[in-house]
Symmetry: C2
Subunit: 497 residues, 2 copies
């Protein structure tokens, strides 16, 4: 047979000239650091010209171009049109800022390029240590299992999978939900993040089985309404399988009464899952941790490290109190993955047994290096600083004759709007939408918008380590100027009610 084909060649994707490649890599580092050191002078956001967009319609190149040329395209086409979340005046949605040392760690992780699905190599020990640190940070039991995931959507999905599989007295993985009776139900407040509903849909439970529970005036889940909903479902023959508590809702940062929820779940024998996407990390602060009391009693907790730990995307974490239930929900070891007790297929950390992915990148390294470099105390100070910024902004808004808070300030989120006496609610919605869009389009600042009780509000979420007090002052000054411009534009010329 050996005559039937030519001897294979020895082509490689390694650089032909390592010295030149090193030089280019070092140039990239210098350029990026120069860019980030001066990010404050940039506009937060700018529109992408059509001719740039057109470049991204070109077909895949068959032939090579030099890495220098490709990098130049990156500098010309990509760098000038960022999302804006690197900038000190980005407070949109709940989007992390990232750090330069986190980005360097990503480079190191990608250079080493291990597959952290399992096996005996050191990356898996780093992963496990970061999971252990996550338990420490949240005051969660050390005996829990955990998994670093792409983010809280995945963390919520994993938590709810374990909840679902543990709620029935048959083999859910084998038999599924098809034709099963009675029907499983879950509970969460109206303010709960959409990823919980998405998880319900994916798991075959159906969004109809997610009971959305009303909230009180602080936008926390109404415990009495929850109790009644559970009782009513049980009476009708449903099986309540999971209650989701919020440690910081996405809309307003509200924190549910987690101990109250834990008590109900204990009494009713229901899985207690906490979605702490960003808020869970407030557990690092002595001033805030009492508000999160009860989180440590949850059966599973989901939270992100790429939000309020300022790490680059993607890294989230799910913790599950009962390791065995967690493993049982995901372990699956076919012949080609047989673990040996020696060599690289040995080792104690098989993360693919605890989640959906089999191949996994080395997410942990950026957390490991950053937590070591900064120490938890510095993270606590930065998180506190963001909360102080939210308080500062709130105090300025409350003192302002033409602005009003639209939800109780909680944690790092401030929901407010500009008001003009005599304007109708519809006019105020249009005014505030236009203020927000001009703030963004002119590259001044990027808060985002949301609706609270059907009214349009401007929402600033502080999880930016570059923000200074002067940035908040500039936000408010700019809103005043824009509001007056918009009035002059007769933009809101609907008849005044």
């Amino acid at each position: 047979m050996s005559e039937l084909f030519s001897r294979p060649g020895n082509e490689t994707l390694d650089p032909q000239d390592w010295a030149a490649q090193t030089e280019l890599g070092q140039q990239m580092v210098a350029d990026m650091f120069d860019y980030l050191a001066n990010i404050r002078k940039e506009k937060v956001w700018r529109p992408i010209p059509d001719e740039v967009k057109a470049k991204f319609k070109e077909p895949a190149p068959l032939d090579p171009q030099t890495q220098e040329d490709v990098y130049q395209e990156f500098r010309d086409l990509i760098m000038p049109f960022p999302m804006g979340n690197l900038h000190p005046r980005f407070w949109g949605w709940v989007i992390g800022t990232g750090t330069v040392s986190g980005a360097l760690a990503e480079m190191l992780a990608a250079m080493l390029n291990p597959n952290t699905g399992g096996g005996e190599h050191v990356a898996n020990y780093v992963e496990q240590q970061v999971i252990d640190w996550c338990k420490e940070m949240l005051g969660y039991p050390t005996s829990a299992s955990g998994l670093l995931v792409s983010g809280c959507s995945m963390a919520n999905l994993v938590g709810l999978t374990v909840a679902r599989n543990s709620a029935v007295n048959y083999d859910m993985r084998r038999d599924g939900l098809q034709g099963a009776r009675p029907i499983l139900t879950a509970y969460a407040s109206f303010e709960t993040h959409s990823s919980i509903q998405k998880a319900m849909e994916l798991l075959g439970l159906g969004s109809v089985s997610l009971r959305k529970i009303p909230v009180n005036s602080n936008l926390q889940i109404d415990l009495e309404a929850l109790d009644m909903s559970i009782a009513s479902d049980k009476q009708r023959g449903f099986i309540p399988m999971c209650v989701v508590g919020n440690a910081g809702t996405v809309n307003t940062g509200a924190i549910d009464d987690l101990n109250g929820l834990a008590d109900i779940c204990k009494r009713e024998n229901i899985w207690f899952h906490v979605d702490g996407a960003f808020g869970a990390l407030a557990a690092l602060l002595p001033t805030q941790s009492p508000r999160l009391s009860g989180m440590e009693r949850a059966d599973s907790v989901a939270f992100d490290l790429h939000k309020w730990m300022y790490l680059p995307y993607e890294i989230g974490c799910v913790l599950v109190r009962d390791q065995e239930l967690h493993r049982e929900a995901f372990t699956l070891t076919p012949a080609y993955l047989t673990h040996n007790d020696r060599g690289p297929s040995g080792g104690e950390n098989w993360f693919s047994d605890f989640g959906i992915q089999l191949s996994r990148g080395f997410k942990a390294l950026k957390a490991w290096m950053s937590i070591k470099e900064y120490g938890l105390r510095k993270y606590a100070r930065l998180i506190q600083q963001n909360i102080d910024q939210a308080l500062y902004l709130t105090s300025k808004i409350e003192a302002h004759s033409h602005m009003e808070m639209m939800a109780p300030q909680s944690l790092n989120i401030v929901c407010f709007r500009y008001v003009i006496p005599g304007y109708s609610e519809q006019q105020l919605d249009r005014l505030n939408t236009e203020i927000l869009l001009r703030l963004q389009e002119q590259g001044i600042a990027v808060p985002s918008g949301t609706e609270i009780e059907e009214r349009y509000v401007i929402r600033a979420a502080m999880c930016n380590h570059r923000t200074r007090v002067e940035d908040l002052d500039l936000l408010l000054q700019s809103i005043e100027i824009l509001a007056s411009e918009i009035q002059d534009d007769a933009f809101v010329e609907v008849p005044v009610v």
Copy 2:
């Protein structure tokens, strides 16, 4: 209120000394390139000493240490104990090698740190272009939708979600599977990857609803058996919802008759999903693409770019022929994510509408830069080189008096074992296990092991761009030496049958 708290400080996680930080970053680049340029001289794998493992049990530090010190720990504790997949003689499982330019792109992506869940910023156009290129590479319709995901486990999950949701005439997302009749079933060969079963379990379909279909002597799905299984299920009132075809099985690289499967699915009106984890990319080769014919007819295709495109972890892709069905399975837009038609919440690319994650990192950049730098022709040559290497290894094994092939060689995978006349099957299993473990433990080479027809076999998967012919020769020579050592050790001293 403003008197109740102190004015927020202006602490940041940005470096205090940008010049020193740049220098350290450049040092990291130089160190990593030096390491990779000389990787051939390293052992492929080595055991981790207990004192190193102990370091990863330490609690989270409260106080900072310098980035230099942290980096030194990385060099001392992490770099020396890699998985081995950077090395020219790593052929374990199907694990990618990674490239240095891919790792630099990861650093650039992490520095820019956009959230590619959606919105109007340039990263999303890069994501879309890479998805378009993926369609080109696979010969898939340009009108299809797609999503870059963490890897093929997630890609398979997304594909099967759309299949499941599209199989019923009610709203699956709302009503779920609970109590639904009749029961949905899926079909795949016994050689299919475990991630398909995991997806069935997650989606609430239950692994019992995955019909495992026998294979022929080439380890391809038996079309007649599939036909019979579908017919029998329909007769019994089940709804066949999905057939999974393999474009390169994990065990042996077998490619199912994809046109045969597409014909059956068309006739029976069943969703056709292709798992092409690594094999799909053989479509780039004129010599191989005829074997993949029919893949372009699939309703969804899953494949990885971190395997046979040599990119660093994590990056996989799912393509779905019917954009609208894809979107319907995942779109969910709550108030706080309202899309505007202007500003950063505008834009046409909302990838969170097509998958599970809401926040998404900038996975596309490493693919975009690498495909531009190398061009598709170079990828085709490298993939062909890996196939040639598998053919070369096969020819040497077939010509060897003490080695035998254990499955037909297909694509890049070679399954074989060492044989000693007179040894029982059990002795051969033990012998080959021991050969594999010593190969790995002595750092000579890392193939992996699997079972084929209950026999232990050594399995070499070629998706390494650093492998040279001399590495394959060394593998075979080392196996001979180890086999003779093991015989001398009287390791296999079970009575000879």
